[in-house]
Symmetry: C2
Subunit: 284 residues, 2 copies
Amino acid sequence: MFIGGIEAGGTKMVCAVGDRSGNVQAKQSIPTQDPDETLAKVQTFFSNVELESLGVGSFGPIDLDKNSDTYGMILNTPKTAWKHVDLLGRLQKAFQIPVYVDTDVNAACLAEYHHGAGQDVNSCLYMTIGTGIGAGLVQDGRTFQGQSHPEMGHIITPKHPDDSFAGICPYHGNCLEGMASGPAIEKRYGREGHLLSDEKHVWEIESHYLAHAIAGYTLILSPERIILGGGVMKQDVLFPLVRQKVSELVNGYITLSGMNEFITAPQLDDEQGVKGAIALTAGM
Amino acid sequence: MFIGGIEAGGTKMVCAVGDRSGNVQAKQSIPTQDPDETLAKVQTFFSNVELESLGVGSFGPIDLDKNSDTYGMILNTPKTAWKHVDLLGRLQKAFQIPVYVDTDVNAACLAEYHHGAGQDVNSCLYMTIGTGIGAGLVQDGRTFQGQSHPEMGHIITPKHPDDSFAGICPYHGNCLEGMASGPAIEKRYGREGHLLSDEKHVWEIESHYLAHAIAGYTLILSPERIILGGGVMKQDVLFPLVRQKVSELVNGYITLSGMNEFITAPQLDDEQGVKGAIALTAGM
Ligand SMILES: Nc1ncnc2c1ncn2[C@@H]1O[C@H](COP(=O)(O)OP(=O)(O)O)[C@@H](O)[C@H]1O
Ligand SMILES: Nc1ncnc2c1ncn2[C@@H]1O[C@H](COP(=O)(O)OP(=O)(O)O)[C@@H](O)[C@H]1O
Ligand SMILES: [Zn+2]
Ligand SMILES: [Zn+2]
């Protein structure tokens, strides 16, 4: 018997058939369009295989409070066709097997924990810095889950002294996502991040925000490793800058045994999302 | 059979005999002096009663990583006589019963969760703003525990625009504890907090720091309730100011059903520490 995994994103649903060891036997990407149509295609993809369970790493906001009446339902989203869609309920009905749902970043974190950059530790935080900023935490094989799902990308950090940018988060303006996401970089400098590799001050400022956030996560959640992914982290110069600034910020108050190991890149690329979704079915 | 609880503080050890329902039958406060002497007195207090287990809410830093060789040991502390004292090991040896140890704020949080201001929710964060600033989280009856114990009081928040104070944290200067603890208030204004009740700007600035920290905890940990204790919170004007500012900071991105219920005062006073220590023995 196999396990199904769905990386449910705002632009595409990646569906995969795999097993507990992290192998992926088959995979297909389905564009995220109208819910009925999209979910019908998802069902078709899995129709030839016998699944014992299904895991979903979903875009948000999604209700993950197990005590809530709307558990597993997509909440207020700019993708209006998906607003109030009972994702979990519809998948349970369609497949008649146990379905497990969590956030996309929690799933990514679980994938790295089991099969990637977090294999040798008991807890890790996965942070993505891309179109948005989000993070997930895994401890002893379980994803961390608050009442509503955490919105770690929206914390407010101190401003960089040379930065006069107002930020682009529609909710908070200058929160982390508003100041340091890929679109924030593009808005601030009028060019996309990958065209700014030689502009030292861009990455000085970017690493300031990321380091403050990471120092905060570290002091609050105390993970054993922090894994930084997403498009913006393709900018290699960021890793050493972020490591150095986090070190300065925590300033010996907590032991960070080896910054190079503490803050590291993901090891799973393409299949992180589906491997994470599959892994959701094991621990919960 | 009874349960023992110890609130192990830097100035005193409060020992109590109680039960699972949160009743306290007997209690004694023992000054924290030389470890041998102090622990002998602790043992004497419990010598007449048959205990099934013992819980300890301890001052820090203490090693709480169960995979560590020094689990349960006091780490680098200004109280030099207690440095590297194997608190857990010595209590286990003395009592020959299961001993459970956690941080003092985690224990306080657990006490409020079971018997106080968190009785009606599934998760709560307890934050103390006193000589130091610390916080603990309980989810579904379990205290949250990272690799090393979280140091939530040392996060760095944006500075208040009218505040030029440099902060007093020996590690970070202007971290939350450095800017907003009781001693920080005293240092900034040359007078203790309880003498500053009429100075509006003092509490405007204080609530700025607390609200930024609480908004951060909320976005990262997503607790159902936040309980604010410690000497500084005796300043009643702080509650409405903090609630209002947290509301502004999260700005509708997360639903905070009723700020008056979300951010609230503790309900257990004197016996919070020992009740929490006793409660530690049940869940772990
Ligand atoms: N080399 C790069 N340097 C800086 N930013 C980059 C780089 N490559 C991609 N980005 C930015 O990353 C963002 C996309 O992030 P990505 O993680 O790929 O997608 P998403 O977050 O939508 O899943 C875009 O804003 C893009 O400008
Ligand atoms: N009414 C008050 N207003 C403001 N600060 C106060 C008030 N009462 C006590 N404090 C401050 O609280 C701190 C002591 O906090 P407390 O929680 O009682 O002790 P501890 O943190 O050592 O356990 C001191 O710095 C004191 O100045
Ligand atoms: Zn935001
Ligand atoms: Zn500090």
